[in-house]
């Protein structure tokens, strides 16, 4: 059976797994974005705070994903929970770092002007600073999403949902008729989904980044 026949044959299951894969990655990215932006907002005014947050987040990124997953299994068991925790942790670095860089990069003259026309602290943050830092934050989310697409495959080891299951079945059934097709379908599926998400990010940037600061 060639790859296309295989995909057509298993379309129902593959499409469900693809959906789950995207869904867990997107959900984790959103959670990490909320946490990352909050952390960024909390620390960006303090150089030490920024350094600590960046250092911690990049340390997490250094940890092999398989090892982190292993450490999460005894605590959270198998399935979606350890997967989402691992994914959120990995997504934190790019988002936090970009939030800090984006917020720190806002021209002080602009925030000064905003205060000058009577905006309060929260107003300046939400209506000026975060708006201007948004392209950087979005870029961080995009990087995080791309990374999570691959890590989510490994998470199938802890019985996490998604296309990783296909890759693992392919591996365990090595030598049997459809092993390669299965692993290939899983791998290519992830690549295709990653490309689709890339397109989605492009659209989001188009729609949400103020035309005044679009590069």
């Amino acid at each position: 059976m060639n790859l296309f026949a295989y995909i057509a044959d298993r379309w129902d299951r593959l499409s469900l797994q693809a959906l789950l894969h995207v869904s867990e990655v997107v959900q984790s990215t959103v959670i990490a974005a909320i946490a990352g932006v909050l952390i960024g907002v909390a620390v960006y005014r303090s150089p030490i705070g920024s350094a600590v947050a960046t250092a911690l987040a990049s340390t997490i990124l250094t940890i092999p994903s398989f090892a982190l997953l292993g450490l999460l299994i005894p605590v959270f068991g198998l399935g979606a929970t350890p997967t989402v925790i691992a994914l959120v942790l990995y997504a934190l670095l790019p988002i936090t770092r970009n939030t800090i860089v984006g917020l720190a990069g806002v021209d002080p003259a602009v925030t000064d002007a905003a205060k000058g026309i009577g905006m309060n602290r929260l107003g300046v943050l939400t209506r000026v600073e975060l708006r201007l830092a948004w392209p950087a934050i979005l870029a961080g989310m995009r990087v995080a999403t791309q990374m999570l697409m691959g890590i989510a495959v490994i998470a199938a080891y802890a019985k996490g949902p998604g296309l990783g299951g296909e890759v693992f079945s392919g591996l365990t059934r090595a030598g049997s008729a459809n092993a390669t097709n299965q692993a290939l379908a899983g791998t290519l599926g992830v690549v295709v989904l990653a490309l689709l998400l890339e397109g989605v990010y492009f659209l989001i940037a188009r729609l949400t980044v103020s035309r005044g600061i679009r590069g």
Partner: protein, 259 residues
Amino acid sequence: MTTTTDVTGFSTESGSRRADRMRLFAQPAAVVVIVGLVLAWAFSRDNDEIEAQSIQAGVLLTKTWEHLVITAVVAAMVVGIAVPLGMLLTRTWARPAAPAFIGIANIGQAAPVLGVLVLFFLWTEWEGLWAAALPIAFYSLLPVLRNTITGIESVDPALVDAGRGIGMSSSGVLLRIELPLAIPLILAGLRTSLVLAVGTATLAFFVNGGGLGELIDTGYKLNRVPVLVVGAVLAVGLALLVDWIGAVLEEYLGPKGLS
């Protein structure tokens, strides 16, 4: 000489430079403490027969060694392929080919590494070190390749002109001017590649390549948490150490005289 600046001076740095400095000192210390504590716990607790089979110095050393060998082989391949390739692709005549190679390396990194590893195994039916190292190298290639190209291309054209103008051959300019000036960026790329390599080496056991992932797998399959934890903590410690080595290389291997 009012314009003279102190080379060793510590100046106000951006958050991330400061973060790098912080990690340079804190990271190895944290690794030693955490790994030490976990090993002390694992060796002092009352291990059953299955646990004791894995939690013994010989096994741990062998697995760590295998892990390091994979990482080193990958790093050597990455440097050996990506740096010369990057140098080649910055030559005027080869420049049109650069996007194609960057594209291939991009696919290598964007594709899920486990998928690449498994597919390579299924196609070649190889097992062991090379079955793991080759796909991991393909996956880790991009940062060094991209940074080599960017590093060489960002060298001030006036310096290349000066080099040629005083009679250096084009290969002389490449080796003595462009490459040394690109080294800081290449090292930054190498550090990223090293982290990718040491991390993905935990997956090598899937193709019988050994490494610390094997301990994690054993602990998980046989439901022995101590084995799993020791494997995972060693893998984390090793990754942090390799990253630290990358940071030290970045700090001290770059050419002198730059900022």
